[in-house]
């Protein structure tokens, strides 16, 4: 067992319920070394979250995204859930459509989904359907492009001073 690893709780009993609730929206269920996880389509997010909430997962730890470009499906949105009092974690990996990535929002269930979803939108361009205020959070409001996408260059934004020009105008997206 690695140094960071602690014996973890068994959440395999959840799987039948999730399979039943999700049907074809469930892509894969894996028991990883850190926690159990399922890979799902966006349509399966709310049913899966429903099952988790009923089971007692009360704290939404994090919503993050990963860009697997040029592989497909390209975007992975990872949700980490926690049962605070039982020290149990669970991970959902949601794979939206490559060209039009949209996922239902969780802001109605957990208020802290608000900023987390805004950050994913800001840095990856994945939209959250039903979010009350989906605007940029880390980048300036008039920025163009989504910097954490893999086809967004690390450098190359600097240019001659251009009064009247807008920030971030130059590089953006190199399409596939």
């Amino acid at each position: 067992m690695a140094e960071g690893a602690a014996p973890r709780a068994d959440t395999s009993a959840l799987l039948p319920q999730i399979t039943q609730a999700l049907g074809a929206n469930l892509l894969e269920a894996v028991s990883e070394q850190d926690m159990d996880e399922i890979a799902i389509l966006p349509a399966g997010l709310l049913p899966a979250v429903e099952v988790l909430r009923r089971d007692g997962f009360d704290l939404l730890l994090d919503i993050g995204a990963t860009d697997h470009h040029p592989l497909t499906p390209r975007f992975e949105i990872s949700y980490h859930f926690l049962k605070v009092r039982q020290a149990t974690r669970y991970r959902l990996r949601v794979f939206p459509d490559d060209l039009n990535p949209v996922i239902p929002t969780l802001t109605a269930l957990w208020p802290n989904a608000d900023w987390a979803e805004r950050e994913v939108w800001d840095l990856f361009g994945v939209r959250f359907d039903g979010h009350p205020n989906l605007v940029r959070i880390l980048m300036p409001d008039d920025w163009k492009g989504h910097p954490l996408r893999k086809d967004y260059p690390l450098r190359g934004l600097e240019r001659r001073f251009n009064p009247g020009g807008r920030m971030g105008e130059v590089p953006p997206v190199i399409t596939k």
Binding site: M1, A2, E3, G4, A5, A6, R8, E32, Q33, D34, M35, D58, L59, L60, L61, D62, G64, A65, T66, D67, H68, S78, H80, V84, R85, A87, R89, R91, W110, P111, N112, D114, W115, A116, L123, P132, N133, V135, R136, I137, L138, M139, P140, P147, L148, L154
Partner: protein
């Protein structure tokens, strides 16, 4: 502070001033260069008289693209960048990162000496970070001299850090596979000095502040949040524990051998700013206890694993062994590869659950390091905590949330 135009609220339904609203509301932009915002935070406050109606924190002023940079550095190099996010607790950040990478690599034989030193320095970092919080929080509330007390003690910790790692702020001392260097001669005398001195200084600060009538007046009942709501808002660390939830990753998901130390989870039932104040004070004492136990254990032996594919060989070996030289060259010029996979690793940072979701695509650079910065989620709760309080209390609430903007904005 200055009143500004209303255009910033256009997209936000609950911040826009409704037409025909009879109340005499005022919109106030607090920050981003306000001294009590502890960095570069701007809070848009809508005020009814002196009472806050809504508060909308605006972040992003310190965004430095740390996550993007991490993807473009070798696994070992990324430690230096990771250190710079939460600049008050750099070793907590790098501990989280190295543990995550070690799990991806399947390294399970970190030497005991390295583990003990990791725990010791993570706890020293916690104390140093809480001392900055204590000094600045007290200063926000008008107690000037306590700042000097706190920083004097922090200075001693930074001296130890400098003595051991060569750097005061961004140590980058933890490495994948162990530590960069063993501690130098004379370290034990210094840590003993610190262990002997600290409780008395902490008790001094406690005596000045804990039952201080001004502190109690300013903090009790301000920014109150129940346990259920704190969980719903994703709060972790001292803030969650101050609402009575005994959740501490060192106990819930132990790492680095924390299960072998004897320490308490500090909780408080109040859920207000004062509870957070007391919890952090108690936590400093518990951290001191852990350091003391680590000092008592303090085993000998190496501080890195003996794997030449991960850790460069010692300098003396490079000077006479061809193979060692090649290993060194390969590690410096192209790093090492990590098998495909992903892992979530969290450590109990001074501010809460410092988590990292690390994905490897099999290369010599991380494919993605997603942070779960505790300050990001803790600060978000300001939207819930500030309304109903006075403007002056917003300062106390921000102080009690203890955000660090290097980490919020990354």
């Amino acid at each position: 502070m200055s009143a500004t135009d209303l255009s910033v609220f256009e997209n936000n339904p609950d911040m826009s001033v409704a037409p025909g609203d009879e109340r005499d509301t005022l919109v106030l932009s607090m920050g981003p260069q306000h001294p009590s915002t502890h960095g570069v935070l701007r809070v848009m406050l809508k005020l009814d008289g002196e009472t806050v109606v809504t508060a909308e924190p605006e972040i992003g002023y310190l965004h430095t693209g740390i996550e993007k940079q991490t993807e473009n550095l070798f696994w070992q190099q990324a430690i230096t960048v990771v250190d710079r996010a939460d600049y008050l607790a750099p070793l907590s950040n790098s501990l989280c990162y190295v543990l995550a990478v070690e799990r991806l690599l399947g390294i399970d034989n970190i030497p005991a000496r390295a583990q003990v030193l990791r725990v010791m320095f993570a706890e020293l970092t916690r104390i140093a970070s809480h001392l900055v919080w204590l000094g600045t929080h007290a200063m926000d509330l008008g107690a000037q001299s306590i700042f000097m007390y706190a920083f004097e003690m922090r200075e001693r910790i930074l001296d130890i850090m400098e003595f051991v790692t060569g750097a005061r702020m961004h140590q980058s001392w933890f490495r994948i596979g162990g530590l960069a260097l063993d501690v130098p001669k004379g370290f034990l005398a210094r840590i003993d000095d610190f262990i002997g001195r600290f409780p008395e200084r902490l008790a001094d600060m406690r005596r000045i502040l804990e039952k201080n009538i001004i502190i109690m007046d300013r903090l009790i009942g301000v920014g109150k949040i129940s346990a259920e709501e704190a969980i719903a808002w994703g709060l972790t660390g001292p803030i969650l524990r101050a609402s009575g939830v005994a959740y501490d990753i060192r106990k819930a998901f132990p790492y680095s051998g924390y299960e072998t130390y004897d320490f308490e989870i500090c909780t408080h039932a109040g859920g207000d700013c004062y509870s957070r104040f007391v919890v952090r004070l108690n936590e400093m004492h518990e951290a001191w206890r852990v350091i003391k136990q680590a000092r008592e254990k303090f085993p000998g032996g190496p501080v890195v694993i003996d794997d030449r594919k991960i850790v460069p060989p010692p300098k003396t070996e490079i000077q006479h062994s061809m193979e060692a030289l090649i290993h060194h060259f390969k590690l410096v010029s192209s790093g090492f590869n990590v098998e495909e996979g992903h892992v979530y690793q969290a450590v109990e940072g001074p501010r809460g659950e410092m988590g990292m979701y690390v994905t490897s695509a099999g290369g010599n650079k991380p494919w993605r390091v997603r942070w779960r910065p505790p300050s990001f989620y803790n600060l978000q709760a300001l939207k819930r905590l500030a309304p109903g309080n006075l403007v002056a209390d917003v300062v106390a609430i921000i102080g009690s949330l203890d955000p660090v903007f290097g980490e919020v904005d990354r």
